[in-house]
Amino acid sequence: MRALWLLPLCLSLIFAACGDEDTPDATVDSGVATDAGRDSGPNDTGNTDSGVDSGTPDLGTDGGVGLDAEPTDTGTVANPFPNTSCAGVSECLQFVVGQENDLLDAVNDLQTGTRIVLGAGTFRFTNAVTIRDDAITFEGQGIDVTILDFAGQVAQSNGVDVVGDNFTIEGMTITDSKKDALRIENSTNVVIRRVKATWSAGPATTNGSYGLYPVRCTNVLMEDSEAYNASDAGLYVGQSINVVVRRNIARRNVAGLEIENTQFADVYENHVEDNSGGLLIFDLPGNPVIGRDVKIHNNQIISNNRPNFAPSGTTVSQIPRGTGTFTLASRRVEISGNTYQNNLTTDVAVLSGLAVQSSTAAWAIPLAMVVGSTVGLDLPSGGGVILNFVTNEIWVHGNTHSGYGTLPDSTNQTARPLGALLGLVYFASGGLGPVDALLYDGIGEVVDPDVVVNNTNFNHVCFEDETGASYATLDLPKLAGILDGGQRLPSTDDIYQPVLPWAPFDCSGFTGGPIPPVVLP
């Protein structure tokens, strides 16, 4: 179904570029140079800007080597196990570079509870490293010290591919996988610690989809890890229950960090910079894990202005570059204490699922299929199905904002209609912007730009104690109607831009939070 806001025609408006080509903005990246300096990876080639993003914040900040200067390539390391080894550990197997075949033999024939330790250097594979047993620990000597290189992969597979409970992966870099760098599926008690996923070509459409990708898991800890150059999400947790994501870094991915169809997630102290979209929370239509109780706090969400390089047609290709956070088709989400800087489309957008998929039928999940808990959620149901397009009980508070909204992504209105629409509303008709830092699409609400008390907040979306931010309710259905009419352009006169405290979105009477922290077993 066509998204409500999808501009229906190549309006004879200000758009010069209505085609499919993504015209990169040469001028967009005023980005501050705030790289935390941790991505000194040998695989993070210095050529990551690909010529489309001159002036991006990662200039000069890839603090390490330029091109794939792998530290070791030969197995001639003096001590391949400087940091961890099998010494004194039973049920433990260790491998050095050159023993790739032995490693593959071993992982295909594991005993439950085995610990696998890889030495320093670059291990090269033509197929995935697969693990299908329980209680496996898979450990290297550290990020960029132990490297698993899948550039020679002939099978179209993930890099490290796991199905197994009580799994821990720690201390390694995974590079150049055909599909996801690390995929862990259908597993309980998963730990991802100090793992880096990257692609040596820099940000490229042809890179694998996801960096770190636990999906359909229960009890997931992802910490102190990094993801670069993924053509979908760098860091991802999806369709999972009980999740902690902390102290990670995501740069130069299409989506930096995604929490998708996930229940009870605690996401904090992550650094999300120079992606197309920063930190995103959403449900997909038809997925049986109904997202809820997501806590996003104390993250750095900076200059996520990289031109979207996702393969066209994909869901993430619709993300306007310059998006800090959106929370879409989600409920019971708390976004607090985060720093948003220089996200050129907007900082935080609160969106109904209908904004991207206007068919309510597409959001129908048969009750018998529902996974996890829906207790206490306010979602429409009936006829044996529950609908999860609704976004409600959203509490945004205590964040700081600067440099937002000065150049929304109008590069491709077909692929990214929201960016194009924001460009029209805020910058056409003589407007000078910027786009407000905080946006609510207003789907399902009464929106009256002129009479404050007419505005409704049925979905309990609220914003308070925000520093440096402005707020607007967009009323997407109305804006789409104006465009469809073709008589005039929408402008900020059509949206609700209240003065503080932004009633009725000011949290008075809000009961949807706080979201409790997640405690893993």
Binding site: M1, R2, L6, N101, L104, D105, V107, N108, D109, T126, N127, A128, T130, I131, R132, Q153, V154, A155, Q156, S157, D161, V163, K178, K179, E185, N186, T188, T205, T206, G208, S209, Y210, V215, R216, S231, D232, G238, Q239, L284, P285, G286, N287, P311, S312, G313, T314, T315, Q357, A361, A362, M369
Partner: protein, 418 residues
């Protein structure tokens, strides 16, 4: 009860069998019949390689061909701590002058619709412990007794229009039913054909050949890792666990006619005759697949014929992951199992979960009436790593199968999904 069936089959045989040795005789005729009457589906011919020499020296000639071979009794010992290092230890199968030969009571079988594997010639057989039987199931895979083995071997020939010439077997996979379920055990043949070694880490090999259409092809043939077997063979048990399943041995795919020196006989009835299958209902109660070979034309097929063929093709090729019980695949919410009647989850106007570059710039899994706008066709026609479906098991596109699916989507009443 079966006379009509036999008669139909016999008529069809008379009409078609010799006439078109190298091309499938044309879908429509094959599709309607409960039993697949096509003579050229016998033996290896499912692989589309039955170029005019049907079955002359194949081992699947029924009881007459299963005489005791001088190599002792089959040994499938589920109590061994580790699988046998050599395939020969099972005494199930061996190579004689380049031809796979099975031991006594090892029963070759064929599927009406096979999984496409880069045009590899696949030879399949089962063995059940003496005195035990397979239990018939209508829709699920047949229930095999513990201790059973399924043997599947993959071969290539330089010119698949003459598949018996220069054939080389690459691997044999033995699926053994343990007390805790099926285990998939891969064996890689030695170049001299003397035996095959247990080989769990996988193997990649470039294979050049002429395909059944006469086109030169180069496959990047993948012998999967042992763990990768589960990517096709694993299902969720609905209680948080998983189990390994078998894909082909289902009623709808085994329900086919086979020819031998004597009268044609339905494969399932042959199994009953051999005493290895229990519970077979009347044949008209048994589901049946369209007969799908990897070659042929869909010209002149009606929409219902295309639909039946395409749904069976998608079922055998995709539904091991794309079904609600699968472990991998459910994240997509695209269910291609033949009994799925939910149009949305069959892909109609459905956006993909995470197709990545596999979307090919297209927005919906299936746009009825528009194969060129459908992701499903893009992914099965692509030969680029990272885009292809199925994920494992092919590096080449299946000329005939893609034709069937494309034809089906084209035949659907047109919809505008936007």
């Amino acid at each position: 009860m079966k006379s009509v069936c036999w008669l139909t089959a016999a008529l069809c045989l008379a009409a078609c069998s010799e006439a078109q040795p190298s091309r499938d005789s044309g879908g429509p005729g094959d599709l309607g019949a409960a039993a697949d009457g096509g003579a050229n589906d016998l033996g290896q011919s499912d692989q589309g390689v039955d170029a005019g020499e049907p079955d002359a020296d194949l081992p699947d000639l029924g009881p007459a061909d299963t005489g005791v071979l001088p190599w002792g009794e089959v040994v499938v010992d589920i109590n061994l701590p580790r699988p046998p290092a050599l395939l020969s230890e099972y005494r199930l199968v061996r190579l004689e002058n380049g031809v796979l030969r099975y031991n006594d009571r090892v029963v070759p079988y064929e599927l009406a619709a096979p999984l496409f594997s880069d045009y590899a010639i696949k030879e399949r057989a089962i063995w059940v412990p003496p005195g035990t039987q397979v239990n018939y199931q209508d829709l699920e895979a047949f229930d095999f007794p513990i201790g059973s083995a399924i043997i599947k071997s993959f071969s290539f020939a330089p010119d698949l229009r003459q598949p018996e010439v220069g054939r080389r077997v690459i691997e044999t996979r033995v699926l053994v039913k343990y007390a805790d379920g099926w285990h998939a055990l891969p064996y890689l043949w030695r170049p001299d054909g003397s035996d095959a070694d247990y080989h769990v880490r996988g193997h990649v090999e470039m294979v050049d050949f002429i395909d059944p259409f006469g086109a030169p092809r180069r496959a990047t043939y993948l012998v999967p890792q042992k763990n990768q077997c589960t990517s096709c063979h694993e299902l969720s048990d609905g209680q948080g666990g998983t189990f390994t399943t078998i894909i082909g041995p289902k009623a709808r795919y085994l329900n086919r006619l086979e020819l031998g020196p004597g009268p044609a006989i339905n494969q399932l009835e042959r199994w009953v005759g051999l005493g290895i299958l229990a519970g077979l209902p009347a044949l008209d109660q048994v589901p049946s697949s369209a007969a799908l070979t990897t070659y042929g034309s869909t010209v002149g097929w009606t929409a219902p014929e295309l639909e039946r063929a395409a749904r069976d093709y998608l079922d055998i090729n995709c539904a091991h992951c794309h079904n609600p019980q699968a472990v991998q695949g459910v994240t997509s919410q695209l269910y291609l199992n033949v009994d799925n009647t939910d149009e949305f989850r069959l892909g109609y106007c459905k956006e993909p979960g995470s197709a990545g570059s596999g979307a090919g710039g297209r927005r919906y899994d299936i746009v009825p009436g528009h194969p060129d706008d459908s992701i499903v066709t893009y992914r099965i026609e692509s030969e680029r790593a990272g885009e292809m479906m199925p994920l494992l098991g092919r590096s080449l596109a299946d000329t005939f199968g893609t034709r069937v699916v494309r034809g089906w989507i084209q035949s659907l009443p047109s919809r505008n999904c936007d």
